[in-house]
Structures are given as C-alpha cells and as structure tokens.
Symmetry: C2
Subunit: 134 residues, 2 copies
DNA sequence: GTGGTTGCAAAGGCTTTGCAGGCAC
DNA sequence: GTGCCTGCAAAGCCTTTGCAACCAC
C-alpha cells in the first residue's frame, strides 16, 4: 500500500516526457518538451505534457522555473539554485548561488513568517548577445 | 524639447492611476488599481490601466513585481528589494534584503554576461496564515 | 473489468492590441 | 486642428480542464 496516492500507472507518454526533461541540458518549456517527445510519439498532446510535468514537479523529480512574461521552463536539477535569463534571446542558465543563504537572510528579516522557498532570477544579456550589441 | 519621447499628455486617467499606485501601502494588481480608480472615474477601462501602468514602469516611477501564476503587482518603491508572498492568502510584503549584494555575487559567478537586474521572491506562510494552520 | 491516462478542443486568466471617437495641447 | 489617449471589445498567450475513448493493471 502506497502512502495515499492512487496507484499511478506507467505509460509510454509519461516515461517519454520524463526522459525528455531528464536528458536535456537546457531548460525546455512545456512546448519544447512536447516537440521533442513528438519525435517518439507523434500525436502526443500539449495538455498531456502539462499534466505529466505537473506530476513530476509534485513528485519532486523536476523543478519548474517560472519566467515572468514567458512560459515556464522545466529543470532536471532539483537542488535549489538561482537562474539567469537573457532578455535578448531568452536563454536560461543556472547560477550556482547559495539560495539557502538568501533564505536564511530573509528568515532573519521576517521571523514571524514561515519562509519555505525562493525564486531568484537574474536578468541581463548573455555573453553571446552582449557581444552582438557592442 | 524632450529627449525624444513624443509629447506625452496629462489626462485625468493618468494622474488618477499614478496617484492610486503611489498612495497605496500594499502592492495592488492592475485589476485592484482599476477598481480603486473607478471610485473617481467610474468608466475607466482595464486596458487603459495596463497601458498607463506600462508607461509608469517604463518611466521608472513604478516597479512591476511579476508573480508566478498570479497577476503582476505594482509597487511604488523603485528601490530594488526582494519580496515575500504568502502562498495561502497571496499577501505580498517587502523584504529589505540587499538585492545588490545578490547581483554582485551573480556577476562574480557569471563574468561573461551582463547582469542588470534581479527578481527575488520568497514564498511561504505569512504570520496570519501560519497561525491559522497550527 | 476498473479507473487512471490520453488526445482533442474548449475554456480560463492575465495582458495586449485594433479601432473609432474624444480630448489635451 | 493634430495626434496622443481612451473605452470597448476582440484577440493573444500560456495553461488548465471536461469528456469520451483508451489502455495499464
């Protein structure tokens, strides 16, 4: 007997979506994941991709990175860390900043609240786009 | 002769929207701003509120705080700082964290990119909602 | 056979935009 | 009078959801 979750089933779609995210080195959006899975399952639907990604996030296998004014990206790295997004080309990179230190600081400033997580996004120009502008 | 901006006009709507945001102690969404302005200009439209808020943000008079999965909030404080949002009731508070220190850290990790700004949001339960859960 | 899953399409929420009329200058 | 601004409504984008068919168990 599992804790309480109704018995989950393994399907072609689920494993294809999971491996698409886990094997990606970038940070794909739901639409990108859908396109990649389409190579294996041509008639996969975007609704299913969103549903399965939601499950994976809930299970803690994948992390969702909300991007202001743009579709969320999905990240195989669960370890908390910050991100950098290029305002020109939209490329999203990891930044190995001590997010936990930020949270500790925030807790010190706000002892009466219960702070669980942080979303830290830096914005600017990536090396490539920076070069093109100068 | 202004720098280059086509001559902007002063209208009842613009000043009402601007003062609604600047006089608010909370962090209203565009819809909330619209409702408050309606007391003064009953037939103000949400489209206009979004348009004017966009101008104010561009002029640097107001700051937009994008909230993942919820409407953006608008903040009269331009000084960069972090925010805390309660996942239960949606209340948004300022946190006087040294955002510039975060940016400096990120720049050190990512010297090849040009990092301009940061969006830092902490999530958890506010004092009030925390009390109700225990 | 049961009921979690899927594909499709429609709907949902937030935000932007096209257009004709209106108003600040 | 000019052309920026407004109100209205429609459209846009990302995401969620209802439903009947489907398939893992």
């Amino acid at each position: 007997m599992q804790t309480e979750a109704a018995a989950k089933r393994n399907t072609r779609q689920k494993s294809a979506i999971e491996s698409a995210v886990l094997s990606s080195c970038d940070h794909p959006s739901a639409l990108t994941v859908c396109e990649r899975v389409k190579e294996e399952i041509p008639n996969i639907s975007l609704g299913t991709v969103y549903r399965v990604l939601g499950m994976l996030v809930k299970e803690g296998k994948v992390r969702e990175i909300p991007v202001p004014g743009a579709p969320s990206r999905f990240d195989k790295t669960t370890r908390t860390h910050a991100h950098f997004i290029c305002t020109e080309c939209g490329e999203l990179s990891d930044i190995d900043a001590e997010e936990s230190a930020f949270i500790a600081h925030a807790r010190a400033m706000f002892p009466e609240a219960e702070i669980d997580e942080a979303e830290i996004i830096f914005k600017g120009l990536c090396a490539h786009c920076k070069g093109e502008k100068s």
